[in-house]
Amino acid sequence: MSAVERLLSRAVKEISPGSIVNLGIGLPTQVMHYLPENFDVQIHSENGILGAWKQAEPALMDPFLIDAAGAYVSLREGASLFDSAVSFAMIRRARLDLTMIGAFEVDALGNLANWKIPGKFSPGIGGAMELAQKTKRIVVLTTHTDKHGNPKILKTCRLPLTAKACVSRIISDLAVIDVTPQGLVVREKLTDISNGDLQALTEAELTFETGEAAHEFV
């Protein structure tokens, strides 16, 4: 299993039966493909869908039905379609139980930066700010380090924030880390990485729980 597959397989377990979930662009949208076919969940897409599901069979793909990432989704029974104002009303009214979201940086206070790298990347905010600020629970899915091996889990975010103190949990390819008032607490990690090695790949200070923390997370 690749690092990304491991991360996505773990991410699926974050979704409680009966919940309403938004899957942000990037790693989170890929979580959809790991969901069991009959799992009781309603996927929200901010372009106006509640009840989006996996890509439609080729013969059933509808060019007038995409999710916010551009995928030709299908709809589950009980789906509804609505305008963008209603879609974001649902978000701002905290009717979503969970948003999984990507990150450029996330920090020990649960601050999230995922929309802008000044001078390099500024394609716009999209729906991220409202999702991050208003969803009941935000889980960040991210590789533990960037492609150069630099930590993405920081003491303090340096990039412009998407939202302050919004993240509840971080799932990387190496560990499951909770943001707590006492800082970052490792709940699960790969068995073949030591506490010291994980800390070395993380700028923020980590606390290691005994018990669960010792277990392989997938």
Binding site: S45, E46, N47, G48, I49, Q55, P58, M61, D62, P63, F64, L65, I66, D67, A68, G70, A71, Y72, L81, F82, D83, S84, A85, S87, F88, A89, I91, R92, S122, P123, G124, I125, G126, G127, A128, M129, E130, Q133, K134, P160, L161, T162, A163, K164
Partner: protein, 231 residues
Amino acid sequence: MKKNRTLENAIAAIPSGAVIMVGGFGNPGTPFSLISELVRQGQTDLTVIKNDANEAGHGISRLIEKRQVRKLITTHIGLNKLAIDRMNQGAIDVEFHPQGILAEKIRTAGAGSFGFLTDIGIDSEITRPEDLVDWKGTAYKVEMALSADFALIHAAQADWLGNLVYRGSAINFSPLMAMAANHVVVETPDLGAPGRFKPEHVHTPGAFVDSVVPLESLTSDYGILEHHVRR
């Protein structure tokens, strides 16, 4: 009173310098035919309000490529490298808003109001001190209503009175823009007589619509984008 117009006449009403809302989130809901006619007629110095910039070579990207657009008000243009380049070159002015805030600014104009109080982004760099109001002891961000001279809308179905029905994810900004613009132009491949819709199923009542352009067929622009199909 029939609101039917030809493609040419409907778009000829738009002068250079106009502020134009364009429906659509990505491809679904983008009124490609109305945009093509606007490219053909060549009005310039336009302010365009759309969720995104479509993709290079398609939809409003063609207006940007032909230098008809002075300013773009949008939420995310990450799928259009060409638009990002034009922005970075300073060839077009781009104003970004959080997606739901853009929707709500448009809807606020559509409701005949002038602004709304929010906390979205209040702690972020998108909020300047002069955007804040202290109202009875609490600070809010004031987001002003966003209206337009024209809205260009794609509807799945319509009737001569301008009643509109959308489908799929092509609803998105269209009902909001139809309320917010002073002159609303709709294209539809399926125009029929009043009475065809159950009154509860109408998404945009005809009162908000000024011109309806029947399309004889839909071009390939309206079809599946192969590069968005997961293999």
